[in-house]
Structures are given as C-alpha cells and as structure tokens.
Symmetry: C2
Subunit: 201 residues, 2 copies
Amino acid sequence: MNRIITIGREFGSGGRELGRRLADELRCAYYDQEIVAEIAKRTELAEEYVQRIIEHKPVVSFPIHIGKSFQVLPDPLREQEQSVYRQQCAILTELADQSDCVIVGRCADYLLRDRSPFRFFVYAEMESKLARCRAKGAEHEKLSDRELIRSIRSVDAHRAEYYGFYTDQKWGDRRNYDLCVNTTRLDLKKAARGLAALCGE
Amino acid sequence: MNRIITIGREFGSGGRELGRRLADELRCAYYDQEIVAEIAKRTELAEEYVQRIIEHKPVVSFPIHIGKSFQVLPDPLREQEQSVYRQQCAILTELADQSDCVIVGRCADYLLRDRSPFRFFVYAEMESKLARCRAKGAEHEKLSDRELIRSIRSVDAHRAEYYGFYTDQKWGDRRNYDLCVNTTRLDLKKAARGLAALCGE
C-alpha cells in the first residue's frame, strides 16, 4: 500500500508550504489545488465555484410540508454539493492508488482512513497567521488587521463546518491526528526535514 | 539562554521514553523523577507523598464562617501543597539555568514560559496505552483491562486537574503546545530522531 500523508491546516498556518516541503523531502507527489481543478473538470463546474463549495458548510435539505404529505423537493445546490463530494472521494482514492503522496485538506485523513494515512494538523497563533498572510501580499493588502483576523477566522470556521459535516469528527481535535504542529516558532524547512524523518520509511 | 524542552504526557503514552530518547539525541540533561526526589529532600516529605500531591488536584481552602466573622483556618495539607509547588518552581528554574534539558511533566511548559521552552504533548489511543502499560509488567498485572483503563483515565484526570489549577490552561489543548505527538503508530526511537532534528539547534 502506498504511503499517504494528509495535512489539515488552519488558514495562514503555513500548512501548504510545510506539505510541499514534506513531499520534496520524501520525494513523493503533492496534491492540493490540483484536486479542485480535477473536480471542476469532472463536474463541469467552474474551479472557483468548486472551491467555494468545498470551503463552506453544505446545505441540508429538509422535507417540505405540503398539505398533509411530506415531500423532498429537488435541490440543485444540494445536488451539486453531493456531486462535488462524490468526485472528491473518487479522485482521492485514485491518487492514493497511484503512488506515495502528500494531500492537503479535502477531508483526506477521513476519506482515506482505510489506508491508514499519517495525519498532520498544522496550526499557529493568530499573530503568526496574520504575519504569514501579510507576507503573501496582494490578496489581503487592503484589509486592516482586524478585518484580516475576521477573514482568517471565517475561513477556518467554514473548514471546521465542512469537515464536521462529512466526517462527524471535530476539525483540529488532536485525537483525530498523528501529529499536530504549531508553526508559530518553527522554521518550516527544518521542520519538514524532521517530520520526514519521523513519518518516512 | 539554554534550550528547554518540556513534555506533557498522557499516562501510558510513552512520553517518558520519548523524552529520554530525545535528550539522548540532543545530548542534553533529562529530568523526571529526579525533580520529585529533590522536592522531597527540600520539603522533608516522603517521595511517594510528594508524588501523590503532584498528581492530585490541590485542596482549596474556603473561609469558614464563625458567628458573624469570616476566618481562614490554617490548613496543614494546603500548606504542604503550596510548599511542594514553591519548591517545584524553584527547582525547575535552577535546572533550566544549569544547561539545555528535557523536563517531563510538573507544569514545566507553563512555569518556564518566560524562557520559551519547546513544548511537547504526548498522547495515544487507549488501546495503545493499555498495551504499553501491560508491557511494562508487574505493576498492573493484577488489573483487568477494564480496571486498567479506569486507572489510566484517573491518572490523566488528576494530571489535568493539577495542571488546570496551577496554570489556568487546559491540559492537552494543542494551543498550549508546539507539537502534539500521537505515539499510537510511531516507533519512538525513530520519532525521537525526527523530533530532535525539528526542535534542535
């Protein structure tokens, strides 16, 4: 069975960079945005739209009461979400079958649980996340610190809701991971080398 | 400033062994039971008694209402606890001043916070903790699995209470640590090597 490493991460914690560096150290494949692109291709939805679906809490359809009978009305949005989720499962399984890999986000720790992935969760203190977002530049330039903090919290809240909805587990709860890494005081290059030694063959 | 590494750990998670191996890898001092022995010496209490105080929630003295006046009665048990805690603080500071070191337990992550220690929390799934306790042998031999699980939970509950009382932080909450390590599927020798590379100079 291939060696699968999954990375859950708080927004701005450097989880992506750590994941990419880890994949480099382990000389294995790295998947992140590629998964969204592939879902978009298969569902014929725009990549941005798929991204939005993935990072938001799914819509729940309730039966609607008409007269004395209950009836579930077709809900196109809900159907799209389900389709995105189904494709996500299929793609993750295909990738995990192909080779050793590092997968960022997408509930991969849960969806690939029968393959015993090594599950990281990457987090950081708010000050550090703020600094990392600022360093990334353009995207957040116009936001005040307060607005940026609100935006960081909002992304994480949506990730937590999405993860909770599909896995019935608490996002970021250390019991669901093999290693939780606080990047606040870490040099990511050095950390990746150490973590590769720890979870590699 | 010396490099200080602190290790909080669930009972049976292998935190001590990981700490010792980490100190070996980093060629630095390792303190665990030595601290209890030193407290016992300084407070003139038995080592077992100090250990019991350290692993239990402290007694809180409430003012006692006599007639119309409030009065705090002297409480020898509470005074002993305070004395043990004061000695613990003093000893940890002395050790941290001496050289680089790994310190297991004793709220060291919090007590030495002005020296920015690298803070580990070591945990594991119950099945793994059970197996580790069984492998250690004699001490738990007579307990059924159910009794042993109850005993593991009880030790951890006391650690959490003690830590919470003195630090006002939640024991095992990843936000209070730099790295949380689930040892369930790890080889401790290999893990120590990787973690040393990660947090060493």
